[in-house]
Homo-oligomer: 193 residues x 2
Amino acid sequence: MYDVFKAYLDGKIPLTNEQHDWIRSCSVTKKLRKNQYLLQEGDVWQKHAFVSKGLVRTYSIDEKGSEHVIAFAMENWWTGDRESLLSGKPSRFNIDAIEGSEIVLIDDQKFSAICKEIPAFNDMQNAIIQRSFVASQNRIHDSISVSADEKYKNFVGKYPSFATRIPLNMIASYLGITRETLSRIRHKAVKKS
Amino acid sequence: MYDVFKAYLDGKIPLTNEQHDWIRSCSVTKKLRKNQYLLQEGDVWQKHAFVSKGLVRTYSIDEKGSEHVIAFAMENWWTGDRESLLSGKPSRFNIDAIEGSEIVLIDDQKFSAICKEIPAFNDMQNAIIQRSFVASQNRIHDSISVSADEKYKNFVGKYPSFATRIPLNMIASYLGITRETLSRIRHKAVKKS
DNA sequence: CGATTCTTTGAAAACAGTCAATCTGTGTGG
DNA sequence: CCACACAGATTGACTGTTTTCAAAGAATCG
């Protein structure tokens, strides 16, 4: 529940008990069953979401009905649709639970108030976004410069726990290849070793 | 020179004359001839860089000697290597000028001081990073979900001025395809219209 | 004009996608 | 406890796209 979030915050910034109480009072925890939605395409995203347990994915669905996974988030990661949050426009994405999960939700207005009152909290957020941006850049670099099987190897190397918890078709989608191609890549990789 | 940067700032946030003078005193302007480097692989990036004139690219070079362009930046855009800046480690990237360019450089320490003293400046920076992150996410989404010719069409639609100012091989690299493929895509597109 | 850089074209090979069938493991209800 | 259903993973044959390599054709700049 909230404890995981508290531990996360304590590991990042110093907070008084009152501040903790305030943040807790701004938070809502939500349990998600497997396959349950946190965000559906067309809805406006106006929260900040911390994954305290489980694993969720962010994806779009194109005209042909294919899913395209742009992000995963597990315990101690943040998730959400920043584009919709910033623009106020309906989201193009869906977020749902790959496993049973628990999410700590903070309304954007309250979140902004917390950022304003607690500079360390604001700095933490900025640091997170900066690192997210760097991670995106690196993913872009991978996507234009390495072959499909290197992408998979990099993914497994970087996020070993994802590789075991996430169904293969979603990993394939995340990497921008089909599940069949990924299956063949893995087959070859096993032979080599 | 600095005027472009001043106009940019005035369009974003209110600044007093003293603040402008201070920011100016922290800034160094640098002229780049075509092909001249702003950053070379292996160097540590410790600045913030605003492009006041011209056009630069950020790219890596792999073992085979191929270049991979991860970003362009033209007038009124920021450039640099945030990964190196955050980590303090040598950069994996090069940045050089596609055209003769002018860059306003601010040392990271001075930049941080400005952010601390002028909250609006800090907020502006955070807003820029948030939008950069959203743009990265969208580029990732494109890279995993649309075909090569749609990627090119999206690129031209989104950045028409890039398409005319940047050599084709660099655009191809940015899109993650070969220059030959991009050439053929354009050929087909012309026929269709 | 000559040299360099950028772009285009062609043919063959490598690669990834599609469609359809099969296999595997998990969990549920009889 | 077994049989079945279901979701996920694999495999094969085929198709389509992209890369590679090599050569030639524009365009630009001094």
